[in-house]
Symmetry: C2
Subunit: 297 residues, 2 copies
Amino acid sequence: MAIVQCIPNFSEGRDLEKIEKIVQPLRGKEGVKLLNYEADKNYNRLVVTVIGEPNKVKNAVLEAIGVATDLIDMNNHRGQHSRFGATDVCPFIPIKDMTMDDAIDLAKELGNEVASKYNIPVFLYESAATNPERINLATVRKGEYEGLDEKLRDINWMPDFGDAKKHNTAGAIAIGARRPLIAYNINLDTEDIEIASKIAKTIRYSNGGYRFIKAGPVEVPERKMTQVTMNLTDYTKTSMYRAFEAVKMEARRYGVNVIGSEIVGLCPMEALIDVSAYYLGLENFDLNKVLETNLME
Amino acid sequence: MAIVQCIPNFSEGRDLEKIEKIVQPLRGKEGVKLLNYEADKNYNRLVVTVIGEPNKVKNAVLEAIGVATDLIDMNNHRGQHSRFGATDVCPFIPIKDMTMDDAIDLAKELGNEVASKYNIPVFLYESAATNPERINLATVRKGEYEGLDEKLRDINWMPDFGDAKKHNTAGAIAIGARRPLIAYNINLDTEDIEIASKIAKTIRYSNGGYRFIKAGPVEVPERKMTQVTMNLTDYTKTSMYRAFEAVKMEARRYGVNVIGSEIVGLCPMEALIDVSAYYLGLENFDLNKVLETNLME
């Protein structure tokens, strides 16, 4: 049976009542499992993770997008995270018995429905992108909600679905398909954000680092530390241990120590098991030797 | 749905035709999955791993024991591994939706059936043991096949099922229930078996080491190395990384390096993920953050 993961991000991270209403359509539906939702007050953003049967997940997410469209007014939205819509971004990730092409089809179906049902312009991104300019979410979202009118006047930024006109309260939405991504943060025993920033630059692709690492610096003042915050966009090619060792190695230059790390949201088993296989120097090991691999259909 | 794992060990590691016949009843049965079977020529022993629905697994294993009883004559059996029966040992491990008590019940049912159907004396061991003397398999098997007549004359070694008389070709059988165990070997860049032996002694419980490590030395002449071979009998209390670091630490005394390691048979996901959580210093991590945990019912 095919299983898809979907991680819609909504522009509401503070009003608990609204958050519960947005999540409600994802609860208790047959074939749909709400795994996790985390609201961030500073970001003013809600990240939701659901898995289940592709069509049922798509329909439930379509409902949730409807609720978010009703409840969120982007004209009053302030937060630290860049965004251009009430439902800002909505990626599909193929998990089991489905291909990336299947996930792309699902993204397009949802895009079509969102545009026709809610009158929101839809941009397809990552693997679902219809041209290379639209692969990178940051480029698609550039200008944010406040710049949408101007962006939509540009002939190069015609939406993939819907009219070239922003929704007056919900803005626009980016819908895509992508590989599983690991949100991984490494803690440094320094409060100097400049150091975290310099380390992030050495390891990330955009400045010459590893191909599948996106990275930036974050302050964590309540713990008197900083973080290198990362997206590992293909853990089969850039493993977690490589990111970890690279940060440790660069930190040494500043006399700074790595004091721990954290995974935000879910992480594929394979990525973690690769870390232990590296650390233990395991020979002749593959996922079929993991008991649980044999318990899944 | 309850799932049990069963790992019968048969005293035949050389004759491929016989091996296939023994394994045959474990193939293609609804509710029973043959995961793995490995024959060792030096040991002259076959280790089989099956999982599935408790009763169906038990019935299929009962059949396989019947085949082994017909095919193996212990009077002609020679090998490096200690053994006292054609089917030497048969542990049940509760995997999902069942308790250790359920696994013990299953062991007793199988024991009863083996004794009455095949006339083989049965000893219950580990968690299924009927007295503390019988918990340790090594004690139960002490004297091996050749010492069975004498052992069965001892009033303290009345079998748990069947008459106090060995089967004339199949000997006796130990049936038990236990926690998952990890068969874990660490490779040393020395051919000196004495060093492997000394390291094994420092880390194993019986000589003052970690509570849940059994360990011994093994020669691997074809690779000009030795191994510390281990059973980690409770990986939730003695983790794999602890065994690994302990061996590395002791090896240093002899100027010897750890050059890798291997897992024999299957390994629970939790044990490997604990290793990566240690290595990465993961904060706020638990198994629910592993995607696959959410894919299993």
